[in-house]
Each structure stands twice: as C-alpha cells, then as structure tokens.
Amino acid sequence: MKQKLIIIGNGMAGMRTVEEILSRDADAYDITVFGTEPRENYNRIMLSPVLSGEKKFEDIIINTREWYAENGITLHAGDAVTAINADAKTVTAESGLTLSYDKLLLATGSDPFIIPVPGVNLPGVVTFRDLDDVNRMLEAAKFGGSAVVIGGGLLGLEAAVGLKANGMEVTVVHLMDTLMERQLDEAAGYLLASELEGRGLTVLTGANTQSILGDGKVGGLQLSDGTTIAADLVVMAVGIKPNVALAKDIGLDVGRGVVVNDLMQTSNPDIFAVGECVEHRGSTYGLVAPLYEMGRVLAGHLTGQDDVVYQGSVTSTKLKVTGVDVFSAGDFSGGEGTEDIVFRDASRGVYKRIVIRDDKIDGAVLYGDAKDGAWYFQLMKNGADITELRDTIVFGQAYAGGTHVDPSAAVAALADDAEICGCNGVSKSDIVNAITENGLTSLEGVKAHTKASASCGGCSGLVEQLLAVTLGDAYEVQTVKPMCGCTQHSHDDVRRLIMAKSMTSIPEVMQELEWTTPDGCSSCRPALNYYLLCAWPETYTDDNQSRFINERVHANIQKDGTFSVVPRMWGGMTSANELRAIADVVDKFAIPAVKVTGGQRLDLFGVQKKALPAVWADLNAAGMVSGHAYGKSLRTVKTCAGEQWCRFGTQDAIEMGIKLEKMTWGSWTPHKFKMAVSGCPRNCAEATIKDFGVVAVDSGYELHVGGNGGIEVRVTDYLCTVHSDAEVLEYAGAYMQLYREEARYLERTAPWVARVGLAHIKAHIVEDGEKCKALYERFLLSQTALQEDPWADRASGVKDAHEFSPLKIVA
C-alpha cells in the first residue's frame, strides 16, 4: 500500500514540493493537502500586480482544482489543520476531519507581523498576505480616500503603489531612515523614495507609529513625534513571522522557525518542513527561490531518488513595481576589508554599487538599470575572481570583455549553468535545451516547459534575449504594440486599466492614460467605445461620434454614398408576409437592387440616407428588425434544412439556429461574428468556417470555434460535443463573451483563437463549469442592456434625427 503523505499548507512551498515529488515518482505517495484559504494554489508573489490591476486572480493560479484531481491529490481548501497527534500520527482539521499519515509536511508559511500599538484591531487595518487582504484593499479603494502603509519594505511599497494605482492618496510610513534597508543601501533607497514621491506617494522615513486612531473604524495614524495622518485604510506591512504554532504544540524544536536539518527534517523524523515556516542553520527565508530549493531537496529525499542536501540559499531581490528597476544581492553593508565600485548617472537616475572583498563580489545594489543583476549574482555565487574584470565590471557584462554593447551579448556570454530564473532555479542551459528540443519560439513556450519567468516574471527580458540568441533571426522580439499613434498603451493594457481604474468614459481614459492627442483618432475611438461598452454594459452611454458611419446610422455605406439595408431573417427563415413587405419597400422607395447575401438574407442596395428611417419604419411594421449587417456584432446564423425536411438530418438545425440568433442578436463584439448550424456532418451550412459553428451528430451537437472564410481561410477548431440545445446556447454565449472580453478590437475570432490557443478557450468553456457559467451569465446580462432594435427609435424620428436630414438646402 502507498504511504500516506499529508501536507499542511496549500501555498507555494508545499505545492512545489508536491510537484517535485510527482515529477520524480508519481506513485510514491497517497497525498492529501490542507489549506487555510478556500481556494486553489496561487502565486502569492504576484498579488501585487493583482492589487495594481495589472493581473487578474486567474492569471496567478498555479494549480487548478483539475490538476489536483488529475494527480490524485485530495485537497481540503478552507479547512485549516488545528492539531497534530505525533504519537498516533494523525492530524485534525477545523471541520473535525481526522486523518492519519506516514509522513507529514509542515508548509504553514508565515503570518504578517502586527506591531502592538493601540488601535490595531480597528476595522480598516489590514495586512498584505493573501487574496482576501487584496480584496479588502480593493474594496476600500473603491471609495477613494487615503491610505497609510506602515512599512517601507518590499511588500509595503508594492502595496502602496498598488493602492495609488487604485486612486487612493497613499503615505508610506517607514521606521528606518532608508526604504527597503535590508535590500538597498542609502543611495539607492533615496533614489527609490524620490521616484515614488514623483509618482505622487508621500514617503515618511524615520517615522515610528505610536497608535492607530479612530472611533469604531480607522481614521488615522499618530507618530511618536506627535504627527497625525488621516487615513481610511491602514496597511500593516512591517514583516512576517514564521507560523510555528502547530510545531510548538507538539514539542518540535522551534527557534524563530521550525528547526530542520539539511534534509528538511524536523526533530520528529516523520515530520518535515519547508518554506517560510522553517529555520535552517539559523536562517529563515521569505523569498521564493530558497523555498523552491527546499522543495527539491525534500522531494529527492522522500522519493529516495537523490540525496542532495540543503545548504542554505544566497538570495537576490527584485521589486515588482512597474517601471522601477531595482536589484540587490549579498552583503553590501561595506566595512573593513571591502571596497566599493560605484557608478552614478543622476540624469538617468542610475546607481550601481558593487561591493568587493578579496577580489570577489560580496554584494551588489543596482537602481535604475538592473539588467546585469543576474550576471553579478552569478559571479557572486560562484565566488569568481574578478581581478581581470575590475576596470569595467560596473558597466555590466556587455563591456566586461571589451566587446560591443549588444543587449543579447551579455546573455550569450553567460555560462551554461548561470541561473536565469532565480525563483524557479532555471539555468541558461535548461532554457536553451528546452528551446532547441521542443522547437520553442516564444516566452510563453519557455515558461510552459521550464517554468522560467513563471513566478515573479523579473527574468522575462533575459529569457527573451536567450530566445533571440538561440534562434537568431528566426526570433522576432514581441514588443508591446501600442493601440495607435495616440498612446503608448497596448489594447490589452488599456482594457485591463479600464477595469482596474473603473474608467467609464472615453475622455476619462484619454486623460488618465495620457493620450497624446486631444480626442484620439478614427482608430482608437471606436476601440475605446467598444471596450467601455463591453466593460460596463448596463451603465455606459454609447458614444455615437466614436462609431464608424455604418454603426452610427445602422446601414452599410456604399461607394456612391448610398446605403444598403439588411433586415434580420432568423436562422435564414422568411415568409410570404416578410417577402411581400420587402417587395413593397423596394417599389415604394425605388430601391435599385436586391441581392441574396452569403448569410441567407436579402440586401437592399442603393437606399438614399434620408430615406433610411422611412424604409425601416415599413420593415418594422412587417415585424422585421435590423440585421446588423453593418456592425462589429452578431451578423447571421446560417442554417441547413435539418431534420425537419432533410432525409439526412439528425437534429433540427433551423430551430437551433433561430434559438442562437434570438439569444445573440444585438450584441456588440470586437469584430463581426458569424455562426452556422448544420443538421448533420455533411455540413451544408458550412459551419466549420464560422466564428462559432454547430454540427449536429446523432448524439447531440459538435461545437467548433475560430473559423473564417475571408482573405485567410481558417477551418474551425473542434471545441467539444454537447447533448442539448440548452448546452449549445450556454457554450455559445460563454464563448462569445470570452471573445468579447479578451480579443482586441477588430480582431476576428480566427486570429484570436490562433493567438491565445484552443487550450485557453477550452479551459474557460469546457473544463471549468463555473467559469463557463459566469461568462454565460455576463453575456446574458450584457444582452439585457444591448438587445434592442436600433431601427425602431430612429424610424420614429426619436433618435439621431440630425443624421438623416441636411443642415440646410441652398437652392
């Protein structure tokens, strides 16, 4: 029988250990995981970008619930272990569940340190440790106001910048004289403080918090010098302390953390510990790289596959604040026997200091230009003699050999064992081998195969350079492409920031994101209008002047300035009554041409603009509505005869098509969106070159996505097979909503699916019922606001009358 391994802690250290065990011997243990937080395992380091709005929670999930299931791991999320019985070898959780173990792993992490001042228990005092904390901060930031962050270390500053990005006035209160004094020296700390002040934060150093003020909730903060600062939110980010409560209860050796030997074994031979809760050779760690090293060592030991030991870690630090480039490593306190090499460029805000002892690097602090951090760190870890490099070392690796300044030269020159990704311990050769063996061409590919850049993302630049060096001209550096000439921001960034900053109008977006033109251009305005409409379907007021003429007047402009009119024919069905009304309209308005479109309906060509409202009124009177043939919106749902008529039909394609069209008409999308339903695999409705295609089979419906019959023909990808009409509707709505929320304006589903990958679509629609349902619900909510016939209120002259009449007629 398999041995039972219980892990207390569903965080980064514990789960990395599990991954390392699985990769060595997936059948070694029967694994059960207990976690205090009621959710899957996520990348805690990336909470800062979630707070600032640059990432979403889904982006930082490491292992989904499906992953646990697939690997046979039982997860008790939201059920904290409250007691261990080391004699009986059992653990008991909050829910009362008691399980026995053969081996137990403590990965309990750490708790935020709370300074014991009056008022710490007031509502509005939060810490910065988990997703709930982030949500509390985001909730508070909704009301604007001011926040005080106590603690000017890594975490405190990331919280401060994040809150500022959410529109709060932020003051950082730091006890020491220098920000991040454990990672930065005084000069770099000063540069950092100026940078943050330049961004509108207030930084108080040498400031000792005496009490938190407030009556019933937080109102402010008092410092020991008597200064008071008003605040609606106080974030306590002064440090962490290992969570050792359970270990203490059962009498394990505990110092600052749970004491472990070089095999990560505690004083009880069947109990192990990894991560922030651990004390090893007198040191505790709060960064991710050492935790991962511990996980590797322990996994090797538990699976009996290798007998490496943990010898402690040398760590380096990067601050995850966009636009601030900071790196530090080793000991830079200076002192006897050390020499400093310093480089300053005040105008560029660059500061570099290399501390040397006995011709070796002892420490390094880089500010403003940290790209050589990995190189210095490697030289330091290797204990390399730098005598020969000494004259140029401060200029970085590219200069060290006297060669040209080619950004990739530094990476090319790195040794094979040089560590590129500090978080995940991935070396240069690991990455280069992954690129060549798997034919990788993108950062995403390298991330998937090696985990390099998958944690803090700080090494993405280096990984891209390695791709460039390895692939040569075959690699095109993917730089962020701005939306248009009016801004530096990409489509994706703008969308994310609209949500993060709750921006609700085009002028607000242009103001907040520093557009370089007063009111944009014909490229960005329609895109912004769409993004805002998609973000706030219930409240956004559509900006007509930011729409292309066809969408503004709900007809298609033709080369001679006349318009064409296409009434909707549900699922391609029409009737004598509708055809008669159309024929009457053609006669009455002397419409010169009528054509059957590729989407199974009729197009009336050559209508004068001023006649449009009257044409619509007659069509409306016969029960017809706009076909949106002019819009970046749902166009048609093409159908075949289906089982009602066709001897081969397996399902009622017409009825299914009508249901789909009734649900989706009127929705605005990044580009036009076409569907089709075929009643059998002969596929007469050509569903496999549509944005969303349905092909009926005996057992139900095959769903296909991302097809296109335009300039570049693309056959759909097969998504899945479903069994009921209701499922077709749910999947179609969810898929359309995913496209609406993620694709860039004017990007058809075909390039979008190719860009994000079918796996991504499946992960949201097929593999996660909750995500699919949530998308579907958002789609339906949006439809309640958008699904109205645009012809009706224009036909009656209520809306946009100015569009259809001249300002003046001069005879």
Partner: protein, 110 residues
Amino acid sequence: MWMEIGTVDEIPKLGARVVQSTGGDIAVFRTATDEIFALFDRCPHKGGALSQGIVHGKAVACPMHNWNIDLVTGEVQGPDNGCSRTVPVSVNGGVIRMQMPDVKATGTHG
C-alpha cells in the same frame, strides 16, 4: 455671398452635417472645442462623403478608406496626397455663416 446655414448646436460635437448646394454637398464639421469648419463633401481619393467620417482633433477620417483630411487646409494628412476644397465659415453668437462658393468650382483638386 455669405449665408446663415444653422447653429452650432445643430451639429453634434465631433460630428458633421451637410449643406446641399447647387455646386454640390458641403460638409460642415464641429470639433470637440466647438470650432466649425467646412469642406466640399468629397474625399480627394475616391470621392467619399467626408461628412460621414469620424472627426478627431482638427481632422476627419474618410469613411471609405480612412484617409485623414485636415479640416483647416483641406489637405490630406500623412503619406497620401490630395486636397479637398475648403469653404469659409464664421460663427457669431452660435450662428454659423458660410461664404457660398462659386457654382462652377469643383469639389476637389490637387
């Protein structure tokens, strides 16, 4: 000949209306800052109706092929060449007056 053609309010901000004249349609534009400009309603490229385009800054993007026309000079911006003929307008107390062009003039040149 100067003629009253309407008021600023009758044209949407960042929009346009048309004055029909015997010499052809004239597009009257209103910018975000309520400045008024007028051009013959023909793009120098393929004759597209500029009045139907998206107005941005002091320019309009033709709805046919997205050429951008400067409202002040009538010149095509960017890499393309050509010019739409401008029509003088004045605004006083919200009332727009236009100097009606010579009937024989053509809409575009250059």
